[in-house]
Symmetry: C2
Subunit: 431 residues, 2 copies
Amino acid sequence: MNKTLISNTTVITMNDAADILEAADVLVEDNHIAAVGPTGTLNERDASVVDGRDRAVLPGLVNAHTHAAMTLLRGYADDLPLTEWLETKIWPREAFLREGDVYAGTMLAAAEMIRGGTTCYADMYFSSAEMAAAATDAGLRASVSGVLLGILPSIDEDLRREIAFVESWNDPDGRVTGAFGPHSLYTCGAEVLRGVAEEAKRLGALVHLHLLETAHERDDIVALQERTPLHALREAGLLETPVLAAHCVYLAERDVDVLAGQPFAAAHCPGSNLKLASGIAPVPDFLKKGLTAALGTDGAASNNNLDMLEEARLAALIHKANRSDATAVTAYQALFMATRAGATALNQAGTIGQLTPGYKADLLLINLTAPHMTPQHNVVANIVYSAGASDVTDTMVDGRWLMRDREVLSFNESETITKGAATAADLVIRT
Amino acid sequence: MNKTLISNTTVITMNDAADILEAADVLVEDNHIAAVGPTGTLNERDASVVDGRDRAVLPGLVNAHTHAAMTLLRGYADDLPLTEWLETKIWPREAFLREGDVYAGTMLAAAEMIRGGTTCYADMYFSSAEMAAAATDAGLRASVSGVLLGILPSIDEDLRREIAFVESWNDPDGRVTGAFGPHSLYTCGAEVLRGVAEEAKRLGALVHLHLLETAHERDDIVALQERTPLHALREAGLLETPVLAAHCVYLAERDVDVLAGQPFAAAHCPGSNLKLASGIAPVPDFLKKGLTAALGTDGAASNNNLDMLEEARLAALIHKANRSDATAVTAYQALFMATRAGATALNQAGTIGQLTPGYKADLLLINLTAPHMTPQHNVVANIVYSAGASDVTDTMVDGRWLMRDREVLSFNESETITKGAATAADLVIRT
């Protein structure tokens, strides 16, 4: 048995009691948390010991909505509204994606995510096989979904391809799991959505889609489909099966009430929603009504980084001003969104998201000694309001260190950066 | 003569032509920029050469509004509205400040600022002598103002103290300059403000105050003083002399028109304004109408870090969503606010804020090779939307390296952190 003891540290458990333990140890056995307790009280025989002094340990961050390979288009098009950005910049370039590009872009994203303490992510993009291969090679936990646009005449073919993908990545104990990724209610017809819902139920797979990112989208659904977004979800059979809905900026208050009682989660993407001028999601309502609110970076082309601590900070900041209420989203709530709520949103509530015995050993260590983390009146406030990706020193997934002391261990990072840069440079000049 | 050549780098000049030069060199002689040009074309005899490959060089960041020593209260009180935060948490603790505390807190701030590429800052707090001593010892450029609350019966004494301070730090070529810091229109009476304006004109000194941080403040001025904030400024004589006004969240559009023609600058503090739920300043109007809009972090108790790149990112992000306009503040405009507009706001427009021959050598180098900075489709977008303080590798002020390769050189950083932590821990338990 492989044992690691992280000793003499501050443990932010994110458990039901919201325990934050000082001078505590975390014992990892193989791929799971075996014990958490006061320093010196755990059975540490045969364990390799990691000194956790001046560090905090917390559950790995869960990026609940991203398009990892879009790192290739980071900084390619900025300061443009969503529709213009998609139609004149992003989609035309994506049309030139070739075999291997998505793998290269996803590995580049993996390096950045590992460096920022992200241990698990929900990825939606083209070429699900390359996405799954990259997550596997990087050592990260991921829910991977190919995009289903469901454009005729290929609806059946697209759906069959994705069913085959999800079936082949459907081990509930696996690190990488297939999910369905119908793009949105405005791009997928009712037939596709019904097909997805049926197959998702049959396979116990997650459905990951975009929902109500813009007011335009809401108005279009109502005008063209003559029904509300909630009706569209219900008719498709997407209320009784786990759904991860990115954005939810224009979710009506009455719909929040209904969805809070369903296996439905919102992936709040504040950075992207600000940058594309989409708006500000009613996250304080989600929290009040008990709708699962996770956090995502969205793709690097609309963020432009994959720093989940920054996303937590944005979530804690923007709703305060938007609601004229400095308590709208607290630092702890934002950290909960970035960890436990993410686990719930990815349908892994009992598996990851807290440092509790029996949970998978997905965690990060963060340095508490830098000037910007001093003094330490409140460790959670320091992490949410002051820290960033670069303060993460160590990242572990499934009991395996992917980064130690800021060195990425699970793959050749320097080659990944070189390959990502070259792929990106080529992608934007292809004709 | 002391010469440094930063070679083979990307130079973001922030000059009038907005030049961004690839494969360029920057020659520093003593405390100023001697030349900027294509790699290999400058006279580099006797220069110590710094390899700038995979780096960008840009003008040092100017933090146009902070209370540096409030690092001592970082994380002490969060998720509270401004009035409650000030009255129940911050002011009671500040009452226990002792000699040496402000120096310790300011040095801690200096370490953080240098690490994030801030080379110049406008500081307003208690104990101006300690603030000036810390800025001097840290090697930073600073405009230092003691807070004038102007509470009877000490108005005259307070003002005399600050006049003496400004007179003793009034060398226009000096790195550290005294300024007047009347707290705000709602805390300072007309008599204090008139006295400050007169003395500021006589000494050629900057006036640094808080202005219209909250709607409450605006309403109070109108109700209690029976005049608009603009009238109060005009009557005090604060329109014809350089004024640096922090926040300006509730500046009326018609007042923006008037102030744009005066030596008046707003220090936009997006992080603090969000965190204290103060609101969102009309920065797109400032930019459109030509009112100088600089950027500040405010104190670390309401931010909670002093990362000016994060502040630039917030400035580029929040106005997009607030105005439903993805072009509201562009990445370049945000970087301009963090550099050149800051120089103008601190009344140093011809001295710092751009990499142009003759300007003071205040600059930073930023690493472009990290995963989150790859690829490099757009260097300014990468810096504003993806980078953070930790990407800054080197910081120079007045031709002197304060940090090289992430090592702070101008003082003992480790002792500063220890001293800051101990001072902060003591401050919050004093009775």
